[in-house]
Symmetry: C2
Subunit: 337 residues, 2 copies
């Protein structure tokens, strides 16, 4: 069997939204495995804001993807061939598979991969979302980075998204009053009716700042920030003195070319504590994953995904994160099982 | 004796630097004292960046000064007449005396005033500087807000200024390696030769970013930030992962009309903790003042002041903070003793 591997290689760095022609789609034979290697057929790619950051040549926590390289991306796949004693055909693994059909897994870099139970307790998209990095991010943000306390008001931006939807639900589990910010009446209804948020603010509505004010009569104790820009500025203006910010993402800034668009003054005026964090630092933690799987199975946390199709569409599918046209975790199905 | 009280009243809100004609200088008879009041002859005014903030109609921790009102300002004075049993002629007091010759102190608002020993252990300018709010700010910033540990690298911006010069010296007392950022070779020499800093970076030199890099070979563990803008961005780019920022002031932003000029991304990428604080919150603390007076008298902390003259000059003297033409605490002598 001679397998073809399609790869999306970065051709030019996008400005603003990603264009299909920022990438070349190349077809190559799957490489021969060396001793200690296994071949992984990619099933799902996780579509994350960080993919967009990796395309830009700006300071970040990993080097940017080089021009000509296969796009870096997290995903799940099955081992379909192995010359490693650590991995057997049929193993389900998660790691930086890249935007391609097949990834080569080297046991020398086993620490970069997570072996998952062959028959996982939740669906594969949920494993990438509520019970994967998205859930882990929400979990550590509200427990370790800025623990939210019962009775406090928690505001979550991008609340219908992969991290925000879980953060809001964890906030409820911890006894907070939870206000979500999302785009459009459907998403806002979803937050309240399906996910149990106390209030929702539609940032696409003309009166969204007034909505935010009315939803936070006692101010905001904890801001779980995913967005940045005008939405963040509005939430920061509602913070109580001494409030805390879990700075998780700044999706509004990622495609603006690195222009300074923030204002630190409010941190002084309101004596805030702002803590940045990366779920990446907690990737080895099993506690969060166990808790999240438990909550999902007990129905205490509702997972949700938007599933797009086709490796070749990855560049433009990613834009849905920035256009706000997905709900819950956005994943791309590359191969069916 | 009929005393004349000159008052500097805000006429128009400055943009950028303060102009003399943003103020009216009015002369009025000193008001008759009511029961419970005392008259304070202003000796020194403290010239602080916050004065500039109070002139602007932007969100801040106190209301801005209203057009037509006497400019708000901290200072020291002597009681020269009293109809209060709490205050006697000759008492030395500190409080928001305002930009005027005489302030009326009402015992109903006694909590807004601090009564000082009639013969203080340090000079009056030092009482407003190293042993006043400036010193208190440095003290709490490096003990409570972001305690700096022995062996860590501390960077202090505006390091030749009232707060920065004390912050750097407290950093040395706590065993840190201290790097100061200041404008010009004289100030940089002063930091090293007089104040005991380990290194100094001249932000007016063309190679200042290279100087900063060389002065922080192990990165920056704690940033005591007074400036904001490009200086802050450069320091933030040198922070270690997990570094801490005591966000004390953003003097570069105060006169820029509130344009967003900062970037929160670095807080995420480097997993920083940024804490804003106001010395104002610690104004009742006697511990800091006792420690600071002790250190100054023992020679462990060197106080330094730039003393300007003449109430009428207050608007333009204040600009020296933004032009960088003062060293140590900037005070204005209104009346000699």
């Amino acid at each position: 069997m001679s397998l073809v591997n399609r790869q999306l290689r970065l051709k030019t760095r996008p400005e603003g939204l990603v264009r299909q022609d920022n990438f070349d789609l190349v077809e190559l034979p799957v490489p021969e495995l060396a001793e200690g290697q296994a071949l992984v057929r990619v099933l799902y790619l996780s579509m994350d804001p960080t993919n967009r950051v990796w395309m830009s040549d700006i300071p970040q926590y990993m080097p940017p993807v080089a021009i000509g390289d296969t796009m870096r991306g997290l995903g799940l796949g099955r081992v379909v061939a192995s010359r490693s004693s650590h991995y057997a055909e049929g193993d389900l693994v998660q790691g930086l598979v890249g935007w391609q059909d097949y990834a080569v897994l080297d046991e020398a870099r086993a620490k970069d991969w997570v072996k998952l139970p062959p028959k996982p307790p939740v669906s594969l998209p949920t494993l990438l979302g509520a019970c994967g990095f998205s859930g882990i991010t929400a979990y550590y943000g509200l427990t370790e980075i800025t623990p939210v306390q019962p009775g406090e008001t928690l505001v979550v931006s991008a609340a219908a998204g992969s991290v925000g939807s879980i953060a809001g639900q964890i906030g409820k589990l911890r006894g907070a009053r939870v206000v979500g910010i999302a785009g459009g009446p459907d998403k806002c209804r979803h937050l309240i009716d399906d996910l149990g948020f106390d209030a929702a603010v539609d940032y696409k509505a003309d009166d969204w700042k007034e909505q935010l004010k009315q939803a936070t009569p006692d101010g905001v104790h904890v801001n779980f920030e995913n967005v940045g820009g005008p939405v963040m500025r509005a939430v920061m203006s509602r913070m109580v003195n001494g409030g805390r910010v879990a700075l998780c993402g700044l999706i509004a800034n990622y495609a603006n070319g690195g222009r300074p668009s923030d204002d630190y003054s409010v941190i002084i005026v309101k004596r805030l504590t702002v803590r940045g964090f990366l779920a990446f630092d907690y990737r080895d933690s099993q506690k969060a994953v166990q808790d999240l799987i438990g909550w999902v199975k007990e129905g205490k946390v509702k997972a949700g995904e938007t599933v797009a199709e086709g490796l070749e569409n990855a560049p433009t599918v990613l834009n849905r994160l920035f256009e706000g046209t997905s709900t819950g975790k956005l994943v791309l199905r590359v191969h069916g099982e």
